[in-house]
């Protein structure tokens, strides 16, 4: 699974996710990536979110929308909201990670797996790549 969240010069957020699904997948199973609110969500009032992980748990927890709702209704930062929703997934026995970006350019990249491929770029073009 791959994903991206972006903030443009007009202050608009966008999120996208694309996946090949799950090895050895059967019966037409679909994960969270194409499900708006589960693996992909964007709202200028809160954040843009893209998830990757055990899809069934991201769907049941409506992870991407939940992060946005924690920010909108409880005033959490994108970082705290991201930590909370990944913790909820872990508490149910699932695992994975997400990337999120808010309208002020704050980023969050929480995950509870052994690793996650992540990358960021700032307004002035500074790039950071993280794998573990």
């Amino acid at each position: 699974t791959v994903g991206a969240v972006a903030l443009d010069k007009d202050g608009n957020l966008a999120a996208g996710t694309s996946t090949g699904g799950m090895t050895n997948k059967k019966f037409g199973r679909v994960g969270d990536s194409p499900i708006i609110g589960a693996g992909t969500y964007a709202n200028n009032k809160t954040a843009a979110v893209s998830g990757t992980g055990w899809g069934e748990f991201f769907i049941r927890n409506v992870v991407a929308y939940d992060l946005s709702a924690l920010m909108e209704y409880k005033g959490l930062t994108v970082r705290d909201a991201g930590e909370q929703v990944i913790k909820k997934v872990g508490a149910m026995g699932g695992d994975g990670g997400l990337i999120a970006l808010d309208q002020k350019g704050n980023a969050a990249m929480p995950f509870n797996t052994a690793g996650m491929y992540r990358g960021t770029i700032t307004k002035d073009g500074t790039i950071e790549i993280y794998i573990y």
């Binding site: 443009d8 997948k25 790039i127």
Partner: protein, 182 residues
């Protein structure tokens, strides 16, 4: 508060022991290239949607990642791809699921968002829509990669092993191997 783009290439068991310096370099180079593709769009005054699509298209075209060209295989030896995109300003969204011949599913998701009144299209219908929108349609063989094919064989062997031990199904939280992340 200075980020303009964040990307990911998937999560899962990324063992340092299995990550050779060459492989790590290849991942880093691919992630950097995707960030630069998105950044160029933002710098040129394009929309965050264009930046997201540019970055993800690059990752879909790179066999290192479980999306597009590098997609993993289903039990039937097929590649079933899914994608979604969402605009934070209008709250419009588009998604495709279970597609097998669309070269860049993220572009199909964007077409659903901007050129249909729907949010999600699946399977053959989604493929027909993508074709009518002029997106690149490929032979399913385009998605074949040796690595992923071997991954499928390994997963099928593991599953047969588990079935032999009588616990083919892994209820959540029972250490289900996360080979599925690709």
């Amino acid at each position: 508060g200075q980020y303009v783009m964040v990307i990911h290439g998937g999560a899962g068991t990324i063992l340092r022991s299995s990550m050779t310096p060459e492989k790590e370099k290849a991942y880093r180079t691919a992630l950097e290239a995707a960030l630069k593709a998105g950044y160029q769009k933002i710098n040129a005054g394009s929309s965050s949607l264009d930046a997201v699509q540019a970055a993800i298209t690059m990752l879909e075209d790179n066999p290192l990642f479980n999306a597009g060209k590098g997609a993993v295989f289903t039990h039937d030896g097929k590649n079933e791809l899914d994608a979604a995109i969402m605009d934070g300003k209008s709250l419009k969204a588009g998604a495709v699921a279970g597609v097998t011949v669309i070269k860049n599913p993220i572009m199909a998701a964007r077409a659903v968002m901007e050129r249909s009144e729907h949010v999600m299209l699946i399977g053959k219908g989604a493929e027909q829509f993508a074709k009518e929108c002029g997106l690149t349609i490929v032979d399913p063989k385009y998605f074949y990669t040796e690595d992923r094919w071997k991954g499928l064989q390994k997963a099928i062997e593991e599953e047969a092993e588990k079935n032999k031990r009588g616990n083919g199904y892994n209820p959540p939280g029972t250490g289900y191997p996360d080979y599925k992340f690709g």
